[in-house]
């Protein structure tokens, strides 16, 4: 399991309530980590950037 307290310290984050947040993070880590091993190298993320995208008039 990840050392969440060390990660927070390394990132310079003030996270006081570790007892509350560690169990759900450990649970998520246990469910998520094995899935990462199943990703093919050419799998693209489901977020895309459109270089040709025009800014709508309403937002200019």
């Amino acid at each position: 399991m990840k050392q969440w307290k060390e990660i927070a310290r390394g990132l310079g984050l003030n996270v006081p309530d570790f007892e509350r947040i560690v169990p759900p993070l450990d649970g998520l880590e246990a469910a998520f980590r094995p899935l990462v091993k199943t990703i093919p190298h050419d799998a693209e993320p489901a977020v895309t950037f459109h270089a040709t995208q025009e800014v709508p008039e309403e937002l200019q």
Partner: protein, 460 residues
């Protein structure tokens, strides 16, 4: 009375919009202890109602929502009216624009009378809001209404309004619909504009209505759907006619009945409610088709990874004001800050893979029938729930059957399917193909016509 019935009454002179609106405002006041509402827009609502009456009397008719009193979750921006998002951070925020949904509702002649209470920042399912009060379930005021659109669920269930808008990032429309005994639809991602709605998870947020009937949900969806260039994820597909006809048929429709995951651990009353819905569908000529669904628990984990990353990124600039957050939301935001960027990217890669794997289901069925939640509404303050002999976190249990559908962006409808042993409402979920809201509304309307679960009302 439903929107459909009220629309007829308005056009035959049996009632006026001012009368409907006045009654709604009175009921909102008399049921103030439910904490369903944050801001009441009495003056503008009555003015809008008077205008609707004038227009209808002059044969100017904007459709079935014209003159109907409605509410919106208090994260839809309303020009000149504060929009709190249920947060102390935004308690005095008065937008200078309307959200796209508000624009569409007003163009349809709806009378927006209130902004409903919600889970703080829409980040949770209890709607026990530390800043604006805990929303109470109209069926039992010691119970949560679900969330995060808990005020919208309570307002519709308590007959304050005909429709209340919600948003759904991990089940936040369907969960309160199930817990409050109303209908709720989360459309396909991109079907309804997110413009002017406070985001929670950019790639998971969906907007949709909670209503008293499936056809009312269809009427509302038709009014608010459509392309909006101000929302980058907005779809350019045209909006079809969603309203199911009076004698709606589902004959030969293939309704998928999951053989794995969805019925593994549910309250017995949920099981019997779903079985009765399947039986009703079968009687109507639909084909109940057993299917094996991909790993929904894995999808839930991926969806949580994405949501926690996106929500924490969004709120990072405010996290130095820790006293402005409730404890549960602050804990979630802290968790999200500890996740790695690589995990977010990999979660979005897994999302594509899971989307492809799930789409194979549509070769064998036209929609899926599942529970919305594995149990009825828990008590306010309850943190774990025991289902089939196993203790489970209330939030994770409540979102177990709905969260993955946000990851996939699919349309899903929740409608009442009975009560549990404590008399709390239960919900059935119908999940459809992308942009096939018409089919799930058709199935929902047929099941509503064939059963009487939607006629059950809380004793207020």
């Amino acid at each position: 009375m439903t929107i459909q019935e009220a629309a007829i009454a308005l056009r035959t002179g049996k009632v006026s919009s001012v009368e409907l609106t006045t009654e709604a405002l009175q009921r909102m006041r008399s049921l103030g202890h439910l904490n369903a509402v944050i801001t009441v827009m009495e003056e503008s609502a009555l003015e809008d109602a008077r205008q609707a009456d004038r227009e209808l009397a002059s044969d100017i008719d904007f459709g079935l929502l014209h003159g109907i009193p409605v509410a919106v979750k208090d994260l839809f921006e309303t020009e000149g009216v504060r929009t709190t998002c249920g947060s102390k951070l935004f308690e005095d925020f008065i937008p200078d624009r309307d959200s796209a949904v508000i624009e569409k509702l007003e163009a349809a002649g709806a009378v927006v009378i209130a902004k409903t209470n919600l889970h703080e920042l829409a980040y949770g399912i209890t709607s026990t809001n530390p800043h604006f009060g805990a929303v109470r379930n109209p069926w039992n005021q010691e119970r949560i209404p679900g969330g995060s659109s808990g005020g919208s669920g309570a307002a519709v269930a308590a007959d304050m309004v005909f429709m209340a808008m919600g948003s759904d990032t991990g089940g936040s429309i369907r969960n309160p619909a199930a817990f409050c005994g109303t209908v709720g639809i989360k459309p396909t991602y991109g079907r309804v504009s997110r413009y002017g709605v406070m985001p929670l998870g950019f790639s998971l947020d969906h907007m949709g209505p909670l209503t008293r009937s499936v056809r009312d949900a269809a009427i509302t969806l038709e009014a608010i759907a459509g392309h909006d260039p101000r929302d980058e994820s907005s779809a350019s597909r045209s909006v079809p006619d969603y309203l199911p006809p009076r004698e709606v048929s589902i004959r030969d429709l293939r309704i998928g009945w999951p053989e794995n995951f969805y019925f593994d651990r549910v309250d017995p009353a949920v099981m019997s409610g779903l079985e009765s819905m399947a039986e009703a569908a079968s009687q109507l000529g639909a084909r109940i088709t057993p299917v094996t669904v991909p790993d929904i628990a894995a999808m839930n984990a991926v969806a949580r990874m994405i949501l926690m990353s996106e929500a924490s990124a969004l709120m990072e600039q405010f996290l130095d004001r820790r006293d402005h957050f409730g404890a549960d939301v602050l804990a979630l935001l802290d968790q999200g800050r500890l996740l790695a960027a690589t995990d977010y990217v990999n979660a979005q890669r897994l999302r594509h893979m899971m989307q492809r794997a799930f789409s194979a289901i549509w070769e064998t069925v036209d929609c899926l029938l599942t529970p919305t939640a594995p149990m009825g509404a828990p008590r306010i303050g309850q943190t774990t729930v025991r289902i089939a002999g196993q203790d489970e976190d209330v939030r994770l249990a409540s979102t177990r059957f709905v969260r993955a559908i946000n990851l996939l962006g699919l349309p899903a409808l929740s409608l009442p399917c009975g009560l549990d042993v404590d008399g709390m409402p239960l919900g059935a979920q119908i999940i459809g193909k992308p942009f096939d809201e018409a089919t799930i509304l058709r199935v929902g309307a047929a099941l509503e016509d064939a059963t009487d679960y939607h006629t059950l009302k809380p004793d207020l």
